[in-house]
Symmetry: C2
Subunit: 321 residues, 2 copies
């Protein structure tokens, strides 16, 4: 299983990938990154998930925070605020700004996001091939109450970062996904893959958005290789983030078993749940998805590597079956 394709969101996906690199140092890893939570801020194109993967694997991440740059300063943001220009709720640091400035300049010059991402990665050398899911614009919107008896759509980042998912999400819509095409290299990577992994990223707004790009599910199915996922929920709660809030919006219970069922046996061959959720194993297997319970808390790179090894073991088991 040399060629591995990983559908990744931000922090959880990035930390898992670092474990995968340690567990399978010889593997040729392609990451299909979620771009649904990309946002234009201050006229600059910001790709939070791609950057989190790039910074994490390239050694530039703010470790404790999980996103943004280490040794970051916020001079530009403070100056923008002095001009009365916001939003102030999105934490863009000075080092991070440079990434967005380069990206925006390249996009304005006509380069697609995939080419821009490749250029940025020449600096970071993440050790994986990082591809955006699409070069087309997809923007995840969340439907919330408008406070006047109706509903309104807000950008995912506004829901997630500004509102901290504190209000009910009635629907999650990846606007533009239906018209989007997989970025160059995405379908090729899937066609050549020996294994497809869903890291413990958000099943709705990260992996779900990637799967919403037409051709992606078909590409995975046609690869005919094991598809293994890792539960982002432990004991019915998200390890990090607020996955439960957006799961409710799509009518999925916040349990490791329900997320596996949401992906479905048509897509998923194997599923890892945390040892705290060992009761889910029989439920998931009853749905035709091979399931194992292992520790899923990514306390450090070693723990993430153990999780990756468990995923690789499960893939071998699926293939041998």
């Amino acid at each position: 299983m040399r060629r591995i394709v990983v559908l990744s969101g931000g922090i959880g996906g990035a930390r898992f990938l670092r474990g995968l690199q340690r567990a399978a140092p010889e593997a040729d890893i392609t990451v299909i990154g979620n771009t649904g939570d990309d946002i234009h801020l201050f006229g600059l194109k910001v790709c939070p998930d791609l950057d989190t993967v790039m910074y994490t694997l390239g050694g530039g991440i703010h470790e404790e925070q999980g996103w943004g740059r280490a040794d970051e300063t916020f001079t530009v943001k403070e100056e923008l605020a002095a001009y009365g220009v916001g939003p102030e709720w999105f934490g863009l640091g000075d080092r991070d700004f440079a990434t967005h400035i380069v990206r925006t300049q390249m996009i304005a010059a006509g380069y697609p996001l995939s080419a821009v991402t490749e250029a940025l990665c020449r600096r970071w050398q993440p050790g994986v091939r990082l591809l955006p899911m699409t070069d087309d614009r997809v923007e995840t919107h969340v439907l919330i109450d408008d406070g006047a008896g109706g509903r309104k759509a807000v950008h995912f980042q506004e829901y997630w970062v500004r509102l901290r998912a504190s209000v009910p999400a009635h629907a999650v819509v990846p606007v533009g996904a239906e018209q989007a095409r997989p970025a160059p290299g995405v379908l090729e990577a899937l066609a050549e893959a020996d294994l497809v992994l869903f890291p413990p990223s958000n099943p709705v707004v990260s992996v779900g958005t990637i799967l919403a790009v037409p051709g992606m599910r078909e590409g995975i199915a046609e690869a005919g290789v094991p598809v293994i996922g890792l539960s982002p929920l432990i004991g019915g709660a998200p390890v990090r983030g607020m996955a439960d809030k957006v799961l409710a919006a799509v009518g999925v219970e916040s349990t490791a078993a329900a997320v596996a069922q949401h992906y479905g046996s048509g897509l998923l061959d194997g599923w890892l749940v945390d040892t705290a959720d060992r009761d889910a194993v029989t439920v998931v297997e009853a749905d035709g998805i091979r399931c194992r319970a292992v520790p899923l808390l990514m306390t450090d790179v070693d723990a993430a590597a153990d999780m990756a090894r468990a995923a690789l073991d499960l893939a071998r088991e699926v293939r041998a079956a």
Copy 2:
């Protein structure tokens, strides 16, 4: 002489303006700023002269340097360099970047530069009305040797900052000036002016570029008020910058008298030269331009205020004549 219009470049103009504000605290000052050395860097619109005036009068300038922000850091620039993205020869600091980000975002949203400048000045409160000479794009190019027997045009900033004016300039061309229209408010300010001043800014690439905008010279002439200039040269050398290099390109000798003659008696009513150039007084007056010799070294705000008082005195003298 309550309503004063000043045609200003960067450092010299800005420092003179600070003196003028002290000398004439009740005056209603409109600054027509040069935009010919504006440049797009990293996809951002940078307006060096407008910003130097804004920062200087707004209390944000790096005093010793004369341009850029006080207490500046260069994190964004260092990060851009780490991406291999330049130019590295243009010193944009983090605080300064915020100004260019706001400006670029507003221009992308459809606001003309004059409206953007007004918005930026709401923060800085420079105490003058700061207008770009035009909302249209004008870019000063300098014709230099191409090293292969021919000639090539480079952006003024490349000539000035990167090459430090170290190679001969064969011509200075304000590209786009012929098609440019004065920004809203410019002609109105001239029509209502009691006095027009040329501060000791570069006569070619600062004041000269402003005068190259069609309608500007006519607007000054039709105002029918004293037009008083201050020599940027002392003892045949520029006080600051490299004005002599671009004067040579337009065939003007580097002397206080030659610059007055370059502006001409059709435009200029009065001219101040430094006491070191007192011999120029009779030469200039022979050309029909009233001339006085006073200290023109802007060592501090007091010295600049004295220069402004001398200019106001000369204007009264012209008007009384």
